[in-house]
Symmetry: C2
Subunit: 339 residues, 2 copies
Amino acid sequence: MLTNDGPPTLDDVARTAGVSRSTASRAINGGLRVSPEAQAAVDDAVARLGYSPNRAARSLVTRRTDSIALVVPEPDGRILTDPFLAGTLRGVSDALAGTDLQLVLLLARPGEHPGQMARYLRSGHVDGVIVTSHHRGDHLEAELAGGKLPAVFVGRPFASDDAGLHWVDVDNVTGGRLATRRLIERGCRRIATVTGPLDMTAAVDRFAGWREEMAATGLPDDAYVEGDFTVSGGTAATQHLLDEHPDVDAIFIASDLMAEGALHALAARGISVPGDIAVTGFDDLGIAASATPRLTTVRNPVVEMVNAATSTLLTMLAGEQVPSAPLIMDAVLIEGASA
Amino acid sequence: MLTNDGPPTLDDVARTAGVSRSTASRAINGGLRVSPEAQAAVDDAVARLGYSPNRAARSLVTRRTDSIALVVPEPDGRILTDPFLAGTLRGVSDALAGTDLQLVLLLARPGEHPGQMARYLRSGHVDGVIVTSHHRGDHLEAELAGGKLPAVFVGRPFASDDAGLHWVDVDNVTGGRLATRRLIERGCRRIATVTGPLDMTAAVDRFAGWREEMAATGLPDDAYVEGDFTVSGGTAATQHLLDEHPDVDAIFIASDLMAEGALHALAARGISVPGDIAVTGFDDLGIAASATPRLTTVRNPVVEMVNAATSTLLTMLAGEQVPSAPLIMDAVLIEGASA
DNA sequence: GTCGGGCATGGGAGCGCTACCACAGGGACG
DNA sequence: CGTCCCTGTGGTAGCGCTCCCATGCCCGAC
């Protein structure tokens, strides 16, 4: 029944089912205007032949690529081990089950020209984009604001007031305030923070939350060190912090990964947590629960965020107009033993 | 100069450059049989128009998709934070720079039928495959052994003696022996091991290395617990181990991630490392260096492995015959303070 | 009984590209 | 001086699919 040697084509299916190519195509793509008998015959033929549509041929005429890119403009490889990114990968991948969209992973390459990724995206190789781990200076907002290519940021982009920019995020400012307030309510008064890399909005916003809460309570906001969202960075930042401000009695650390590093640093100096110094983290993606002591942290609802981002993207891909209002999830404090 | 409204096509380039579509195509694809003048004219036109070839159209005729899949048949999301996987992502992505191959990420979905991924791969959506985090029972070797689809495993596949299976790996058995020997040479005699998940060859082989070395020295090999290559799994396994075998004076832990968890468990019980119990790990991908104490471990050369795997795959993609001899990298002991 | 309007179907064009082939021109060789 | 080959070039077919349109058909309305 197969004319050619390669994989079966739509023609083969049509011939096997005893219908025309047009009918076979319709039956395969949703079955509008197809009689039940024709539909059944085609379904049967597809199963028997093991037919799978040729993506390229379909793309050529539909002008869609049926693939979306997950963009990680993070030239530093270490961030790849971050549970946040893991959750994003998992979430996007899962959300794509049931669609026949391919997930194309686009990592910034070390030493790559900043505009290179933007150029790639512009050339129409993917139908849509999810951006995570966005950094100031990666040129992505400007590129994607045009609205030519459907895009959703996971995490507030820097130019977040640009029209036409879609994004979801957790309320990092409130999260930062909650984590800080917890320390204040504990009775701590000399409260420091280890921020994330300040070329990322998550770091900026959590830092702002700390500042706001400190100001609201009338406490000084001079004790802070910039970290990099890694364990070893957390250790280093904490050591630095302790050297500069030996009087701190609490630290809000802008990610659990860094908080873990901080706990190492504190333990190494024989400082008890929360006895001598209380600690709060941010993320609650597994690390907090297994840290010693268990971290008091703020839940970062990655799965929900990524689900929302992906379904927004899918809606845009379906051609529907989506208002570009950001979607901001609540930050919730999670009780631990560290503060 | 552009006839249509969409992105520029090869026709537009040809017309702009004043050559035929054929010549333009040749100039763009390597420039064989193209005069310098024509080449220059085409290059110029491409730059001016911002032309980027339509992948779908090209794929349709070349019968290649210009994309390769990175397959992670690991339904458990936690593994995504493993530095080994991070290194693989980074490595494959980097190795693909310069080619115009897309990297399609294929994560097993929780609850997915085991053969589903194989079916996807069979349908010709990608030109080649790199498999990592391979598990017994994921049906991947059988599927890929046929040689229809170029594939390279990072890490020995279970059916590793199947002809036509390409793979690279570190010498896990020797690595396990080295890590164990180190403990023996230290004078330890009651040496346990925390294995990885035994449905993965890396775990099986490292375990075998431990066994071999223990047997060679005439030591008993009854003290072992199966872990899962995660931090918390390492903690749990170690606690279990200590309860069952209170007399152990050394542990070879089959990954640094688990070793980190083990160090937590040991510290929690007030057991000093290496004083009371010496510890060796496996991987040396950043964790070992930042652990307290610094882990003695075995270097797992991910970057080299993935580079080798990718370039093997690229060679196969180029149509050259590649002998399916495995490529096995040396395991090297890395000095730390934990043993 | 006739006619209009839907629905299921098939025919055919064409998406943008590469591969094949034919051909012109020019140099090297007999 | 003719022949051959080799290089650069353009024309054209066709990859597998979807979409538009024309066709035939059945059913209900008048």
